[in-house]
């Protein structure tokens, strides 16, 4: 038996449904009619022409609001942090603060001694030198 012949005969008996063309026509018409309906709806609506700025107005507004929110939150975070850094005394024991004040007074006296010995140069002297250079 010829396999090709048998296969050809078998497939020849298979046909598409007779109403295929009608179904496709209906589906195409459905697509067309829905397209037409959408067009007529858009025609009946009032015409809104938006400029470039108008089209992006929503985006700009959203960006502005987002920026504002971020700015406020950052500012509040910074202020909270500043309060935490510069007001620690309430949590530190009194003995520790006394030691700190003593050491600070010692360092201040050392600084005064060094100024008296003439090792440091005052701002007034530097400025006067600069002025001399400028005039030269």
């Amino acid at each position: 038996m010829n396999l090709r012949k048998e296969i050809r005969k078998a497939y020849s008996s298979v046909h598409a449904p007779e109403d295929t063309a009608e179904k496709i026509r209906q589906k195409l018409y459905q697509k067309e009619s829905t397209h037409d309906d959408s067009e007529s709806e858009s025609d009946s609506l009032p015409e809104i022409r938006r400029t470039g700025l108008g089209r992006h107005a929503g985006l700009i507004a959203a960006a502005a609001v987002t920026g504002l929110v971020i700015g406020i939150s950052v500012q509040s975070m910074l202020s909270r942090r500043t309060e935490e850094v510069f007001q620690p005394a309430a949590k530190v024991p009194a003995e520790v603060t006394e030691n700190i004040t003593e050491s600070e007074s010692e360092s201040e006296s050392d600084l005064n001694n060094s100024e008296i010995s003439g090792n440091t140069v005052s701002d007034g002297e530097i400025l006067s030198e600069q002025e001399i250079d400028y005039h030269e």
Binding site: E6, A10, Y11, S12, H15, A16, T20, A21
Partner: protein, 171 residues
């Protein structure tokens, strides 16, 4: 057969609808049936292929180019269906659905059923080679496989088909 040529206005760019449907509906239906092994699914695929064709309205070099495009889209649509969740989780009561639908003689329907029992890669190669009379190279192009694979599928499919038919005493 209902002709669409005079029913759909030419302004829609589908004046050749009727001729195209009449010319290719059987080929697309057979290809889809070979792939999905179900009449209802094959009909759905055929309609989808035609709708794609008329919506995209591609330009073809010649009739062979058009035929190849339709076959390629049919194979792709069938593969998409076979891969879909719905199809993979569905159990057909009558896998081929041929007993009620096929109007041919019993012998021919049995041969067709034997072809449809083969794995997908074998049956599509056999259909395209023996019925549509495409070459191995052309089948490779249509199915997206290498020529060596297609040749191998043809040989193996043919051997399996012979075994099935001999077992059922058709040969």
């Amino acid at each position: 057969m209902l002709s669409l040529q005079n029913k759909i206005p030419e302004s829609h760019g589908i004046s050749m609808t009727g001729r195209i449907v009449e010319q290719y509906q059987d080929m697309i239906f057979r290809t889809a049936l070979t792939m999905v092994r179900n009449y209802a699914d094959a009909e759905d695929i055929m309609q989808e292929v035609f709708l794609k064709y008329f919506r995209s309205a591609p330009a073809f070099l010649n009739e062979e180019h058009r035929k190849a495009w339709l076959l390629r889209v049919t194979i792709n649509e069938s593969r998409n269906l076979l891969k879909s969740f719905w199809k993979s989780h569905r159990i057909d009561l009558d896998p081929a659905g041929l007993m009620q639908k096929n109007s041919g003689t019993n012998h021919h329907s049995d041969v067709l059923e034997a072809v449809l029992k083969l794995p997908e890669k074998y049956r599509i190669a056999i259909y395209l080679y023996y019925y549509e009379e495409y070459s191995v190279k052309e089948i490779a192009g249509l199915t997206g496989r290498s020529e060596a694979s297609v040749a191998q599928h043809l040989v193996r499919g043919r051997n399996r088909l012979r075994k099935i038919l001999e077992k059922e005493e058709f040969l």
